[in-house]
Symmetry: C2
Amino acid sequence: MQPNETPRRQPGERATIHDVARLANVSPATVSKVLRGLGAVKADSVARIHAAVRELGFRVDPLAANLRRSRRSIVGLIVPDFRNPFFGSMVAHFERLAEGSGYRLVTVSSAEKAEREAAQTEALLDWRVAGIIMVPTDGQPAAEASLVDQKVATVLVDRVPDQTDFDRVGVNNLEASAAVIRELAALGHRRILLAPSHLVQTNMRDRVNGAKRAAEEAGIAGGIEVLASGPDVASASDTMAARFDKGDLPTAIFGLHSPATLAALREVERRGLAMPQDLSVVGFDDIEWMQVTHPPIAAVIQPVQALAEMAWAQLMKRLAEPAEPPYTVEVSCELDFRGSVSSPRA
Amino acid sequence: MQPNETPRRQPGERATIHDVARLANVSPATVSKVLRGLGAVKADSVARIHAAVRELGFRVDPLAANLRRSRRSIVGLIVPDFRNPFFGSMVAHFERLAEGSGYRLVTVSSAEKAEREAAQTEALLDWRVAGIIMVPTDGQPAAEASLVDQKVATVLVDRVPDQTDFDRVGVNNLEASAAVIRELAALGHRRILLAPSHLVQTNMRDRVNGAKRAAEEAGIAGGIEVLASGPDVASASDTMAARFDKGDLPTAIFGLHSPATLAALREVERRGLAMPQDLSVVGFDDIEWMQVTHPPIAAVIQPVQALAEMAWAQLMKRLAEPAEPPYTVEVSCELDFRGSVSSPRA
DNA sequence: CTGAAAGCGCTTACAG
DNA sequence: CTGAAAGCGCTTACAG
């Protein structure tokens, strides 16, 4: 016997917890309790509530449900650029990790601009997110003060600062970069071009420093040249083209971010150079296209899945224990020396 | 003379509209009116309210602000795969378009699975989004019934169905694909492999059909072979490798989605074939790496920025006028015949 | 020009 | 075991 007072919503109007309560002949508070699996409720009522939920197609509004708490069950993710497949892959991993965690993921990008990163961070804070995972554009979060002030759990990934009170999850840039230089030096290279993006990024600095240190140990410090560009393909291309125009090229190029590696290849291609005989090329980041060039490009492979998993785990830990001291995780890169590297022409 | 009763929030606690009202000596309703630029308010009060907002660092909670309306000022964006740079680029454009529109963008991915697409759609509907922009995995939205039922403004992009009551913005797949075949036929190709992903996608079907029609007109219909794979790189690679293993290769491959083009290149590379002499290659979608291979890959360039702009404009129009009949936009692709295409070996 | 009151959809003490 | 009441942060009629 269904109570007739149930005001059937228009089709298109979503049922509320009150509709469910009315149909099940209980109070909204009881419905809420059952839906969240709390407290003791008579089996009879439980059954009626479930039936009503089914009949009305009721689903809780997660935003309204969180209104009374100071924090919503949302995690914000800020990446520098959606167009870079390395970050695309990272986003995909985080999305998968968020599923079933009870948190919704809201992903935004900073377009590699500190100013936009700050604005995006503030926008996420307006949403009262529970936590933020971020790949900072410049190694340090642009809206640091707000994050600290509002005590939002924050995990920095990939581009991590040297000094910080935030949790951080990164790769061993110094060592990976040094290993590449050691290999090139062993093959006989004496002049190597490093192509980083903005050196304000600590990971770029670490890669350059690791390379320089290894070059020193190999006695070829004088042969290291650093060519910094912007973080996007357009900027890296312009910078690289200008360098090739100047002539007097090195025997190897180590692209410290994938746009620079792409730019180096484009110049090799455009100028009809032979790779690896005229020029060896190695790239930091392993992007899909690197295995379809001829020859395939040697790469430092960043373990993006491990990065995402550690970062997510760390955020969950931080949400559970906000007072713990900041935590640092460093994961190792793998090196794959493919056909784009050989001894230089005698 | 600041009223002393103002209960200063803890640092980290965000000020509410009540805090602002108290500090400015007005009611919350008046603050709300001023912040939204509505109604007439005494200049004096306005000044005090602005001062209070500044002092407290107040920012409205956009989620709470929308609670009384049936729809929130959020637009949901569903793409099939973040790792595909074509969609990465699309997301970046939509993010830029959303800025300053008064809507927040929440982007999720379906991972190319209809089931996940449906779940993601329902999750967005739980948030009471005002509208949804989607690249459907199978050409038709998996959660169509819910979208229709809840009357949420929906725009389908890129992979658009033939028949639909939703707005749609796509490219002229039939014609672009036909143009490629006409060019290949003119160069003397008689056997061409088409490499689409799942043919449930209408854009894949259109590309195949456009190619077949042009082949018929050129009298080479018998030489068209269709090799469908899954939508990801792994699946496309396996499928392509198996095809190469069988031998008896065509003289040209037309990759109808970028993973297939990548897979074709990998096989050309692995088997030491000469491109374009042994095999010409053309790809649908112009991805950055296509210009750094040797030779660069001929491509059908989808105008992703135009797609995004038209789709966004259409959604805004739909939100303003929900009752208008469904609208269809078709934008044209550009063809760039690069070095990967030539006449087949005699 | 302004404020008290009710309400959005839910949850949270609290009283019974 | 259950429900009435208050509250989350805002907005929306409405009365003055």
